[in-house]
């Protein structure tokens, strides 16, 4: 009989047709899956069935919204650690070619990439036949104003406020992603053979005096290298740590901000800002989410009411419709 089958295949049509489509298939199995009888939940979307969803959304969203709103508004009080940001507007850090213009291997301390940066860095790859470290447009355009904050006391001489330079970048960035070139020598030695980015005042190994915050692992540099999502962005600049529980971190008073202006923003019609803020559990101050939650919750609640009315009005007619079936 096997012969029969072969011959049949041969004659009937070369390629096997449907899976299981030939006459060989025996009687189909009576399983729920094969007979498409799997137990199933079959929601029907009508006003009556959907309106609880709307009410539930409303009931959940409005309280959340209120909670967020309150939290966000509370951020104003300057208690706890205060974060000092600089903000740039109209700066397109998300520009496609700008975003690409970096060499992560170089930043990771790869010696070969240090001396021979990726092509992506063009035209900020080499300067005067020396490789640029760190190469690329992002590094080249690093924000290099310095901000200093002074408290103008009653005695009218400014008290400088300690601005912490470290732990403003992600821990992983600082410890894993960004690495100085390996070696025991001084940082300058390790960066030997490279040149500074065109726009920089100092080479990369002179970003900071603290060896743990110098070179590629300089946290200001790391923060800058994390390109912002939107053209108006802020970046963490310094931390103002709270000294004691008794005093507010920044007591009320007149403050004096000293800016060493290096960074031109006219070229892109940008603006610079300095922001002092605390953060709550949900980050910096942003009333949007709270308002959005309240709004969406209310809308949902309202739609729920509309559906309730509709359901009440039209339930009868839909029932009669069924009878006519």
């Amino acid at each position: 009989m096997a012969m029969n089958y072969n011959s049949k295949d041969e004659v009937d049509g070369g390629p096997p047709c449907a899976p299981g489509g030939t006459a060989k298939t025996p009687r189909p199995d009576n399983t729920a899956f094969k007979q498409q009888r799997l137990p199933a939940w079959q929601p029907i979307l009508t006003a009556g069935t959907v309106l609880p969803t709307f009410f539930i959304i409303g009931l959940i969203f409005i309280p959340i919204g209120i909670g967020i709103f309150v939290t966000s508004n509370n951020i104003r009080e300057i208690e706890g650690n205060v974060f000092m940001y600089y903000a740039l507007s109209n700066f397109y850090q998300n520009h496609r070619r700008y975003v690409k213009s970096r060499d992560d291997s170089q930043l990771n301390g790869d010696s070969s990439a240090l001396l021979n940066p990726s092509k992506e860095c063009e035209p900020y790859r080499r300067n005067e036949d020396k490789p640029i470290a760190p190469c690329g447009a992002i590094a080249n355009s690093m924000f290099n104003d310095t901000l200093e904050l002074f408290l103008m006391g009653n005695d009218s001489y400014p008290t400088p406020i300690t601005l912490k330079k470290k732990s403003i970048a992600w821990w992983t960035d600082k410890n894993v992603k960004f690495r100085n070139p390996p070696g025991e020598e001084s940082l300058e030695e390790r960066f030997k053979g490279t040149t500074k980015p065109v726009n920089w005042l100092n080479p990369v190994y002179m970003l900071d005096s603290d060896p743990d915050n110098n070179g590629f692992i300089n946290e200001d540099f790391i923060v800058w290298m994390r390109t912002a999502a939107l053209p108006n962005f802020r970046k963490l600049y310094r931390l103002i740590e709270r000294k004691s529980d008794l005093h507010p971190t920044l007591p009320a008073g007149r403050y004096y901000l000293n800016i060493t202006y290096n960074y031109p923003v006219h070229s892109f019609d940008g603006r610079k800002r300095m922001i002092l803020s605390t953060i709550s559990w949900m980050g910096g101050k942003n009333p949007f989410l709270g308002i959005a939650y309240i709004a969406i919750g209310s809308i949902s609640f309202f739609l729920g009411v509309v559906l309730l009315v509709i359901n009440h009005k039209y339930r009868n007619s839909s029932n009669t419709a069924d009878i006519t079936i």
Binding site: P19, R27, D103, S141
Partner: protein, 1498 residues
């Protein structure tokens, strides 16, 4: 293995070129030295080599169906894949990525999805090719015996080693390895039987003949002596044709025909061994040339989808252009300022705005490529494969009887099943079972109504329904008169046995039965057990007796009255005028061999007979002959003959009855019992015999088998057929052997077949012709009206014609049987010309045709038969459902108009309430005029019905669910009946539009007498002009063209072979499975796929929207905030699975609701799920959702220190959640698979993200996403945004869905709701069907007792439209004829439906079409009145259009024309106007009944 000398086709190199251009092939034996070799010794080596070279261009028998080799696979497969435009597009995009200036992703990464898709397809192709290779290998290595010169014997070889010119020896049941010319057979007649099931699915045996000139060889054929040259056609794929000639050494030529050729793939049966020479091998065999690859069709949905893909491309280009312009402007804005973030070119120069714009444009195309869904095509293919799998697995589509199930042969048009608008159906074998059952016959002008037979058939039908009790039936039957008693008992017996078989029959048993019936087609008990009409049986046995006595006298037939002689000839003709092969059941394929017996004493007759025999006749012919011998045979214990005896079935029954009811048995067979009283020996082994004795008949067409079985029921049994003789067994005469001089086979032009025999009793040469009445009636010997005999003949003919018309009206297939006695001179004269024709080489067919026509003239009419082709189970219900589903059903048949109309009525295609417009035109002009008139009429009707329609529309939404009968009953649209000739006119260019317009208005269209070409033309016309989705269903070769032309072709795995199935996209076991296939699976497939495609578009647009909105915030620089990995794999990995599961498993409405409310099918026809506006609405929603999903994170992180890719990951996550929620709203059924895949998608996304973001600190530039997700997951804002954004995005959709579901629910939604509210009520199958219920009620009424009021039973007669009542009603008409009205009491009792039979003149057979009320008039006077009025009205019309003078046709067309054209209300007016009290009562009653359902619903 040593090599056989290679085949030699063309003799020498010089001649080769010339010969190859010729249209013939020359084949020589491989065993001979090549003709070019001058002397064998010197040229041996050279010749050998050359022969091999020669053989190169001849295909060997190696089968290679694979497409690729190991080396060619990659290039060839890729080349094929790039035929798909989409693949080219995606590769282009991926390659674009390699251009640094514009690249958006890492080039290698961008290639990944394309490569993935290509790899998946390539793998699939590879796997398919491999399995093909494996099966090829298996077939190539089958063994067979090939003659070897070296060993001088047949040696075993593989199939692949066979070459053209080899000699092959095949044994019984072996498969033929190549196309072989039959040279020798173990059969003494040089015959060989083959089964072509593998080739065309026909299970009956076909006979092949040894080449003329070789059949005479006494000794075994020796290949070494074969020196002839064969010239034949070049390989071609025509299975039914083979021509050539064989040239012997002595220069003699002999023709070769298809009867000499054994085709590859067939199986040798009934023959011990055959030898032949290979003519075509391997891929040149006819079987393989016929093997075309799988079909590729593109579904309508896919076409629409492709159109929308183009829209997407346009959208993509627009977005990119917009972006490019924006970027150009943006660059220009910052150009002079040299802003810090504006990266100059590598040479330090600033990018010009135009260059930047161009770059941006290209990059945007890469970034937004997701808009063109790369995975869409793959997903659709996966979903379709799954759909096909589920359709194949559906138990409800499995036919237990035939152990077959639906086969999807085309994989890519499943969703078309849900959108069909027109069904074109064949009739025979599609609507009907193609199981021909002998119903009644007329012999020499006397009608034998075979009432008992009709009852038996009715009983089978009831047995099918398995509802009735056996006992009351038996009681009922036994009330009948004594004449029918034995039959009724027998019948009861049978009914019981069938019943018990059906009841107790386990699956295995049913399977066994089906296996048996598969081995021998046309052998169900229903077809075989024919209950003879007692009167006719009496006459037959009288003939038999008389002849037995008179056979040795001078003119034996002269002792019979002309009528009896006709009866005798009639049955002889039924028995032998065919090509039926006799086999025995235990070895289904072994021909019954009784030759030894034929070599019995009566040698003299044989010699006598052989005088004129042109062909060889080695052994015996006439049988023992007289009763005494017969009996002695029985007594001697060799029960061989008795085994073969025709009455074995009767004997069996006799035995059984002998045990159960001996008294009745002896009573019943009093007239015959004495002659074949059971021998004592038989009593002891009845069981054994039952298994062995029965003969099986294998016929090429079911009609033939039916007639042979019918003759057998009259004890006139075909027991043996050899190519030159036929043996018939009669109870008294014993075995009569007719020398078969010629068989002129059936062809569709002649529409008849004939056999020329020498009658053993009279020694005359007789021609028996069997054919369509229309043809045979014209060929009759013209009889003068002068003498009494001629008048009598004329009378007989007109009577027969009347009966024929009646049969046709009943829906029976009619055949006329005629006879001609040839004088020896006439025969000799004809024979000469015939032999010339036969041996002619050129236009042999033509000459044979002419020769046949010469022979078949001056016939003497014997009688006619009516064969019923029963409707398949469930056909009326299926048709009703399909019509409810809004499908227009056209029946295209080759049958007669009356037969077709009646079948159409029986299957509810034509309603009795409906008006029937009949188009019978004799000329183009008449056709045009008729069309115009019909159109005018239909339009005027349309005006009347418009108010109702608008009313229907006003009841919003609910109206479609109201059953259509309610709306149509008040004003049903008419039906159109058109015959083949008029159809030909109507299909002319200038008329086709009118015809289509008319046909569109009609509820159903019936095309009779249409040719296969017309069928396909009609389908093509509807398809192209009406732009409608068409489905063609058929079972035979004549439907193939129609099946191929239609959008969806469905073949029926029927009795007529596999050709239709081969050409089809879907093959169903029975017509009724079409209902579930279309209404359930078609709907599901369509709705699933439509929703999935829409979802795909939504998903991609929404995703791309996110990227596009971002461009406004990145200077249109084609930057993407979403990591390239997510961007590329999002569609492929994270969001693909849930939609696939939904696309495969989602059920918008449960199956039982779809079946009970076929109207829901209309949603697919109207493309409700996937329309252009749905598409655009979908796109708008996608745009809105992407806005929400973009701006909520935007605002939430406005002016924050979030970095690009953290924010992008957040958006990706939001998008994922939104997609899943959206899918959740769209998913109608949530199985655990849906939940799991949704969960899996989310988990997969985060797992991949976490792993990816932790894997490498400095990799994946430019995004280097190290620890991004990890940081993000610590941010509460992430969760808050992920909650609010998807909810906000989907709130409107959910709200509008709910609103729509409450305010404007679609029928589908209502269906779902009702399914939910009362699932149980709807689960009851069948009963919900309104008409079915009505019928059921009435049926119970009927079974309660016989006290039904006349009106009630009549109304049942009217309302119930199943075929039995139809048939019964027609029998009523038959009862009007004086001959048939002899047994009124029996008729009354046996057919309960007709207890108040209305006698009716035959002249007034009412069609009951439009004027159903008039169809059942009270008695003849009124009837004639009705008739006369109608005739009066019709007169001008018929004269105008030159309607055929043929009474019944005239009548049908005229009546319907009158009701159709003259007065639209006439049809419905008549019943109310019926004058006499009773009729009036009935009429109103009837009217009420008709109105009731519509009222109940409206």
């Amino acid at each position: 293995m040593e090599r056989e000398p290679a085949a030699a086709e063309e003799p020498g190199p010089p001649g080769r070129r010339r010969r190859r251009r010729r249209r013939t092939r020359t084949v020589r034996s491989n065993l001979l030295p090549p003709p070019g070799a001058e002397d064998p010794a010197a040229g041996a080596a050279k010749g050998e080599r050359r022969r091999r070279v020669c053989a190169q261009h001849l295909a060997d028998n190696r089968l290679k169906t694979t497409k690729y080799t190991l080396l060619s696979f990659l290039p060839k497969n890729l080349f094929e894949q790039f035929h798909r435009l989409a693949n080219v597009y995606f590769v282009f995009i991926a390659l674009l990525n390699f251009v640094p200036a514009v690249n958006a992703f890492q080039p290698g990464l961008a290639l990944a999805p394309v490569l993935f898709i290509l790899a998946v397809t390539a793998f699939k192709d590879l796997w398919e090719d491999y399995s093909r290779h494996r099966s090829d290998h298996e077939i190539n290595h089958l063994g067979c015996l090939v003659f070897s010169r070296e060993e001088n014997k047949y040696v075993n070889r593989f199939w692949k080693e066979i070459r053209v010119g080899d000699f092959v020896r095949l044994r019984c049941n072996e498969i033929i390895p190549a196309d072989i010319l039959l040279l020798s057979s173990s059969d003494p007649d040089g015959l060989c039987h083959i089964e072509t099931a593998n080739l065309d699915g026909e299970t009956n045996l076909k006979r092949r003949q040894v080449v003329r000139g070789f059949s005479g060889l006494v000794s075994e054929f020796n290949p070494l002596t074969f020196t002839s040259v064969i010239e034949c056609e070049k390989p071609n794929n025509d299975l039914t044709r083979f021509r050539g000639c064989i040239i012997h050494d002595n220069g003699k030529k002999a023709g070769l025909y298809k009867e000499n050729l054994l085709l590859r793939g067939c199986t040798i049966r009934n023959t011990d061994a055959v030898v032949g020479i290979v003519i075509y091998a391997g891929h040149e065999t006819k079987a393989l040339l016929n093997n075309s690859g799988p079909r590729y069709k593109r579904s309508q949905l896919e076409r629409q989808m492709n159109c929308d893909v183009l829209w997407c491309v346009l959208l993509l280009i627009c977005m990119s252009l917009f972006s490019a312009v924006g970027h150009g402007l943006w660059v220009r804005q910052y150009q002079d300022k040299r802003s810090l973030f504006d990266v100059p070119e590598s040479d330090g120069s600033a990018l010009s705005p135009v260059t930047a714009a161009v770059y941006s444009f290209l990059t945007m195309i890469i970034v937004l490529q997701v808009l063109i869904p790369i995975s869409l095509y793959v997903s659709i293919e996966i979903v379709k494969v799954c759909q096909v799998y589920f359709i194949n697995q559906d138990m409800e589509l499995y036919d237990e009887e035939t152990d077959s199930q639906l086969q999807c042969r085309a994989l890519n048009i499943t969703e078309d099943l849900g959108q069909i608008q027109y069904i074109f159906s064949d009739k025979t074998g599609t609507l009907t079972e193609n199981k021909m059952v002998f119903r009644r016959c007329t012999v020499s002008g006397i009608e034998y109504s075979h009432d008992a037979n009709a009852q038996r058939l009715a009983r089978y039908q009831e047995a099918d329904s398995e509802e009735e009790e056996v006992v009351p039936r038996g009681g009922l039957v036994s009330q009948r008169g004594s004449i029918g008693s034995h039959q009724s008992i027998r019948m009861m017996h049978r009914t019981q046995s069938t019943k018990s078989h059906r009841r107790t029959g386990s699956r295995a048993e049913a399977k066994r039965a089906s296996m048996l019936s598969r081995h021998t087609a046309f052998s169900s008990p229903m077809e075989k057990d024919i209950t003879p009409d007692p009167k006719l049986l009496e006459k037959v046995s009288e003939c038999d007796r008389c002849l037995a006595v008179a056979r040795h006298q001078e003119h034996p037939l002269a002792h019979l009255s002309p009528e009896l002689s006709d009866v005798f000839d009639f049955f002889i003709a039924l028995t032998i005028c065919n090509t039926v092969v006799v086999t025995s059941p235990d070895q289904p394929r072994q021909k019954v061999r009784v030759r030894f017996e034929l070599k019995s004493p009566v040698k003299t007759i044989e010699d006598f007979l052989r005088r004129f025999t042109p062909s060889r006749l080695t052994s015996g012919c006439s049988s023992i002959g007289n009763l005494a011998t017969n009996k002695s045979n029985h007594k001697s214990g060799s029960n061989f003959l008795s085994n073969l005896s025709s009455n074995s079935t009767l004997l069996r029954l006799e035995d059984k009855l002998g045990q159960s009811a001996p008294a009745i048995a002896s009573n019943g067979y009093s007239s015959q019992a004495g002659n074949w009283a059971p021998e004592p020996t038989r009593e002891q082994e009845p069981e054994l015999k039952k298994e062995e004795l029965e003969l099986r008949y294998e016929a090429e067409s079911p009609d033939e088998a039916a007639l042979v079985y019918a003759a057998k029921a009259y004890n006139c049994a075909l027991v043996d057929r050899l190519h030159d003789q036929v043996s018939v067994e009669l109870p008294h005469l014993g075995r009569l052997t007719f020398e078969l001089l010629h068989t002129l086979g059936f062809d569709s032009i002649r529409k008849r077949m004939s056999v020329v025999i020498r009658h053993p009793i009279t020694d005359e040469i007789n021609v028996y012709t069997k054919g369509a009445d229309s043809v045979v009636m014209d060929l009759l010997l013209p009889c003068s009206s002068d003498d009494a005999r001629g008048r009598h003949q004329k009378k007989i003919r007109s009577k027969t014609q009347n009966f024929l018309n009646m049969y046709a009206v009943e829906g029976l297939r009619t055949l006329c049987i005629a006879k001609r006695v040839l004088s020896e001179e006439e025969y000799a004269c004809w024979l000469q010309s015939h032999l010339e024709a036969e041996s002619s080489l050129d236009n042999r067919e033509e000459l044979l045709f002419q020769s046949a026509i010469r022979l078949e003239t001056n016939l003497h009419l014997l009688g006619a038969t009516g064969i019923e082709d029963r409707l398949q189970e469930g056909v009326p219900e299926t048709i009703a459902k399909l019509r409810q589903a809004g499908l227009q059903i056209w029946v295209l048949t080759g049958d007669k108009q009356e037969t077709a109309i009646n079948i159409a009525r029986a299957c509810k295609l034509l309603d009795h309430e409906e008006e029937v417009i009949t188009l019978n035109a004799e000329s183009q002009e008449a056709c045009a005029a008729l069309l115009d008139q019909c159109l005018h009429y239909v339009q005027s009707r349309g005006l009347h019905s418009t108010p109702e329609k608008t009313e229907g529309k006003m009841s919003v939404g609910f109206s479609p669910l109201c059953p259509t009968p309610a709306s149509t009953a008040s004003n049903p649209s008419p039906s159109l009946v058109i015959d083949g000739r008029s159809l030909a006119y109507a299909l002319e260019k200038n008329l086709e539009d009118k015809f289509l317009f008319l046909a569109k208005q009609c509820q159903s269209v019936l095309c009779c007498r249409s040719t296969p070409l017309q069928k396909s033309m009609v389908v093509k016309l509807v398809r192209s002009k009406l732009k409608a989705m068409t489905l063609a269903i058929g079972d035979g070769a004549n439907d193939v063209s129609m099946i191929q032309v239609a959008d969806v072709g469905v073949g029926i795995l029927g009795q007529e072979g596999m050709q239709a199935v081969m050409a089809s996209d879907f093959a169903v076991p029975r017509f009724r499975y079409l209902e579930r296939l279309l209404i359930v699976h078609g709907h599901w497939c369509y709705s699933r796929l439509a929703n999935m495609v829409l979802y795909f578009f939504y998903k991609n647009t929404m995703f791309v929207g996110l990227l596009f909105w971002f461009q406004f915030y990145c200077g249109f620089s084609a930057s993407a905030m979403i990591d390239q990995w997510y961007l590329i794999f999002f569609n492929l990995l994270f969001s693909s699975l849930p939609q696939l599961v939904t696309g495969v498993l989602d059920k918008d409405v449960p199956a039982h609701v779809l079946l009970t409310k076929p109207q829901l099918y209309r949603s697919g026809q109207n493309m409700e799920e996937y329309r252009p506006q749905t598409f655009w609405l979908n796109m708008v929603d996608a745009a809105f959702q992407s806005l929400v999903c973009f701006f909520i994170p935007y605002l939430a992180y406005y002016n924050s220190d979030v970095d690009l890719f953290t924010w992008g990951t957040l958006i990706t996550a939001i998008a994922l959640f939104t997609f899943l929620l959206h899918l959740g709203i769209e998913t109608r059924t949530w199985t655990w698979l849906n939940w799991i895949t949704c969960g899996f998608s989310i988990i997969l996304f985060f797992t991949v993200a976490l792993i990816y973001n932790a894997s490498c600190a400095a990799c994946y530039p430019p995004s280097n996403p190290y620890w991004t997700v990890q940081t993000l997951l610590r941010d509460p804002v992430f969760y808050l945004t992920c909650l609010i954004a998807p909810v906000t995005a989907l709130l409107p959709r959910l709200f509008f869905k709910a609103l729509q579901g409450s305010l404007f629910p679609t029928p589908l939604q209502l269906g779902r709701q009702s399914a939910r509210k009362c699932p149980k009520r709807l689960n009851i199958p069948k009963e919900t069907f309104a008409q079915g219920r009505l019928e059921g009620d009435l049926r119970t009424d009927h079974s309660v007792g016989r006290t039904i009021s006349p009106s009630a039973s009549l109304s049942r007669d009217r309302v119930s439209q199943d075929c039995t009542s139809q048939a019964a009603w027609h029998t009523q008409q038959a009862a009007c004829s004086p001959e048939a009205s002899e047994e009124p009491s029996m008729v009354d009792n046996s057919v309960p439906l007709r207890d108040d039979t209305v006698l009716e003149g035959l002249s007034a057979q009412s069609p009951g079409s439009s004027t159903w009320g008039a169809a059942v008039p009270e008695g003849c006077p009124e009837e004639s009145k009705v008739k006369s009025t109608s005739a009066g009205r019709v007169a001008p019309l018929s004269s105008l259009f030159n309607l055929p003078n043929f009474s019944s046709i005239n009548w049908i067309s005229s009546l319907s024309l009158v009701s159709g054209l003259g007065n639209g209300q006439a049809g419905r007016g008549v019943p109310v106007q019926a004058p006499s009290g009773r009729a009036g009562l009935k009429g109103t009653d009837h009217g009420l009944l008709l109105v009731a359902p519509s009222r109940g619903r409206s």
